[in-house]
């Protein structure tokens, strides 16, 4: 009777949602692929980890109620929630934690972020509800690493089949995947925590910008968390049925330079390139005004961010003077541009024009993703490329000598080493700021802008994330007004 009474007000509300996604996930196992779309469907909805990202990027407890860190910083003891079960009915225990992490760390692991588990020496189940993680060295950021989609907890029963029928512990369970068209999930009635307010959600895959516009206008789709056509965003926003929500992402868009290769191994040349670029014109011209200028490889909404855009302010005269000082003569550089999303192609053309104004000629080479990964990223065969690094807190890539732009200076590596060992928040902030300064002062790359998250949604939808601290479409708190 009580249930029936509760149901009455709900009748007036919609309890389903259609979410438009630009890319279809290749498969649905977040522990076996880097495609953002895998997490855009499954993160926090189907799968959960010990910890999770909140809407503001804060690290929140998830399957772990709480955790203790030993004095020496080498042992994390995670206390798990009671009464949690997987969607197939199997109870969730500390053994699943041990299984998931051991699998991700294994020799034959295909986890795209295997590096997240690097500090871990072993994982054991002390009892059903206590998982003990032992580290090789003190590492303060473990709860952050475990919040990634790549560190979700899977059951040993279903780990092999998660690619096509994912089984997690989350508030939604997988229903159906019509390849090429849509994925449907529904509320998990046995969820251990606060139940989801939506009964059903459909993810539809629409990559064509004009098709996305038409799908919104025809109300086939209720929201695009990342709307693929910034050129029509204003039209939709002006429509009383919809509202545009502009937030931030973890995507630092950079003009990466091959630091190994002449003339880019000369810091003067790199500095000259950064002064030749007019970030605001780039944001206006390539991104329809959506985006925040950055002066280093760090998200501006992060508390530890330092605004270093002044170091590489737009100054073509300075740029020409620096080139003269470098004495490199006329330069022609290849500029590799990966495919849409459009930031690279549109931005690349503007950058080419801005570089030409200071006397640097570029040869634009448009590439597909696979080709970009093989030639630029793995093969390191490039001069310049425009790319967005969308992983959260990824400044550590500058410490890798073999990374594609090839920095890995000893003083930077020393900062990273100390960062990994420090647990004190103030010291961590100092170190992160030192790292940001180091890569900005050495002009490793030209830092352009932070990608904006341009969402469009029906005005009556509440609870969607405005920002994207990780790539996810968290539907747990979403409801219709």
């Amino acid at each position: 009777m009580l249930a029936a009474l509760w149901a009455i007000p709900a009748l007036a509300q919609r309890t389903d949602i259609v979410v438009g996604l630009v890319l279809e996930p290749p498969h649905l196992d977040p522990t076996a692929g880097a495609a953002a779309a895998i997490d855009e469907v499954g993160y926090a909805n189907i799968f959960e980890g010990l910890t999770r990202f909140g809407p503001d990027g804060a690290i929140l407890p998830a399957l772990a109620r709480s955790w203790d860190i030993s004095e020496d910083g080498l042992t994390y003891t995670f206390h798990l929630h009671e009464g949690v079960s997987f969607h197939d009915g199997t109870p969730f225990t500390a053994n699943d934690v041990a299984f998931s992490f051991t699998r991700a760390m294994a020799e034959d692991s295909v986890n795209a972020q295997k590096g997240l588990f690097e500090p871990i020496a072993s994982v054991e189940a002390a009892d059903d509800l206590t998982a003990v993680v032992t580290l090789d060295y003190p590492y303060g950021n473990l709860p952050f690493n475990l919040a990634w989609g790549d560190a979700v907890i899977v059951s040993s029963q279903t780990a092999q089949t998660n690619t096509t029928s994912p089984v997690g512990t989350g508030p939604f369970r997988f229903v159906r995947w019509t390849q090429g068209d849509s994925i449907v999930i529904e509320r998990n009635p046995d969820y251990w925590g606060e139940p989801a307010r939506l009964e059903r959600a459909t993810f539809r895959f629409i990559d064509d910008p004009s098709a996305a516009f038409a799908a919104m206008m025809a109300e086939d789709v209720d929201t695009f968390p990342i709307y693929p056509a910034p050129e029509t965003l204003a039209i939709l926003d002006a429509d009383p049925r919809f509202v545009a929500v502009i937030g931030s992402t973890e995507g630092e868009t950079i003009l990466a330079m091959n630091n190994r290769r002449a003339p880019l191994d000369n810091i003067l040349v790199r500095q000259a390139i950064t002064h030749a670029i007019d970030r605001q014109a780039l944001i206006e011209g390539a991104m329809f005004g959506y985006g925040t200028p950055i002066g280093t490889h760090f998200a501006p909404h992060h508390p530890a961010y330092v605004d270093l855009t002044g170091l590489s302010a737009y100054d073509p005269d300075r740029s020409r003077a620096l080139l003269e000082e470098a004495g490199v003569g006329p330069i022609t550089l290849a500029l590799a541009l990966p495919p849409p999303p459009t930031y690279a192609r549109r931005g690349g053309e503007l950058i080419a024009a801005q570089l030409r104004a200071v006397g640097i000629d570029t040869r634009i080479v448009n590439m597909e993703w696979s080709q970009w990964l093989e030639q630029v990223f793995s093969g390191k065969d490039f001069d310049l490329t425009v790319i967005s690094h969308t992983e959260p807190m990824d400044i550590e890539i500058y410490g890798r000598e073999d990374y594609y732009f090839g920095y890995g200076a000893p003083q930077f590596q020393a900062i990273m080493e100390e960062l990994n060992l420090s647990v004190d928040p103030d010291r961590r902030t100092e170190l992160l700021q030192a790292a940001q300064r180091d890569i900005a002062e050495n002009y490793v790359n030209a830092y352009l802008f932070q990608l904006a998250k341009t969402a469009i949604q029906h005005v009556d939808i509440e609870g969607l994330w405005a920002n994207a601290p990780t790539q996810a479409t968290d539907l747990t708190a979403v409801y219709w007004r």
């Binding site: 690619t163 090429g180 038409a214 799908a215 025809a218 993703w369 696979s370 890539i397």
Partner: protein, 315 residues
């Protein structure tokens, strides 16, 4: 007739074998590693190697080619690198959209083109004929994706009669046909324009033939002569074009499938190419080659039925 069929079958098999080799080799030399694509920017090199091993990318070339051929003969196209499901399942699901869409569009275009072409021919050199020919000229020039967007704006966004795209599946055949209607119209109209022009000129050719004069001399009206004698003889060029069009509609609907976000073969192959899902790409391309070759075979065969002269070997 049997010799004719056997000869055609032999050339069909040879074309298929040649195509399979070409497709396999071309895709092998294409740059891009599917494993690196799937693991993204943060993956360690040994993780990529582990995935390559798991995907079976490390076996030698001839072994993989013959493995693929042998698998195809029993309907096993392999496992998709990215989707991790059998390619035959993927293709099976996509064919349920693409084949009905192509058939729907071809039916529409035929239903429009044949009467329109016949009317234009019988009203030769009148303002009606000129009007129809002007319209078809416009139809030929119209890019189908632009026309598709126009249809969406009018019928989905404006009038809200149809959804702007997507495909609900065949559980509800009415909804499925509805979802295919706008894409089919967008595909059909430019094709109909071409077909109507071919129909008109082919009919005009037959109208000048002597047997037509004989038919009129027997006392048949212009219309009766057209229906009984001219139409059948005018069909051979029309059939040729229709055969080409069916293959085009099946393989060439990539853009229309993108505009209407339909889960068809065209979009499958498009996504698979950018993801370097070579197993899917080569199997779908092979299937399309098979469809084109088979349709051409059937068209040749239909010629022989329509025109007995073509059955006889050339002396």
């Amino acid at each position: 007739m049997a010799v004719f069929v056997l000869k055609r079958l032999a050339s069909l098999l040879a074309s298929l074998l040649f195509a399979s080799l070409a497709i396999f080799l071309v895709l092998e030399v294409l740059p891009g590693d599917p494993a690196a694509f799937m693991l993204g920017l943060n993956a360690a090199p040994d993780t990529v190697a582990a995935l390559r091993e798991q995907l079976g990318l490390t076996a030698p070339l001839p072994q993989r080619y013959f493995g693929w051929l042998a698998g195809m003969t029993v309907g096993d196209f392999g496992i998709s690198y990215t989707y991790r499901v059998p390619v035959s399942d993927l293709i099976g699901a996509r064919v349920q959209v693409s084949v009905p869409l192509a058939a729907y569009a071809l039916t529409l275009s035929t239903l429009i083109a044949i009467p329109v072409g016949a009317i234009a021919a019988s009203a030769r050199n009148t303002p009606l004929d000129a009007g129809i020919m002007g319209m078809t000229q416009l139809g030929v020039a119209l890019p189908n994706f632009w026309f598709a967007m126009l249809l969406v704006l009018v019928f989905s966004v404006g009038l809200r009669w149809f959804s702007a795209g997507g495909f609900p599946g065949w559980d509800d055949p009415f909804a499925a046909m509805r979802a295919l209607t706008l894409p089919a119209v967008a595909l059909a109209l430019p094709q109909a324009a071409i077909l109507a022009r071919v129909m008109r000129s082919s009919l005009l050719d037959t109208l000048d033939q002597e047997y037509m004069r004989t038919a009129r001399a027997k006392g048949l009206s212009q219309g009766q002569a057209l229906r009984r004698h001219a139409l059948r003889n005018a069909l051979i060029p029309v059939l040729t074009i229709m055969g080409l069009q069916f293959s085009f509609l099946l393989a060439g609907a990539i853009i229309i499938e993108n505009v209407f976000f339909l889960p068809g073969l065209g979009r499958l192959v498009f996504q698979a190419i950018s993801a370097r899902d070579l197993v899917v790409v080569r199997s779908v391309v092979m299937l399309l080659v098979f469809a084109v070759v088979t349709v051409n075979f059937l068209v040749d065969f239909t010629y022989a039925l329509v025109d007995p002269r073509l059955r006889r070997p050339v002396s």
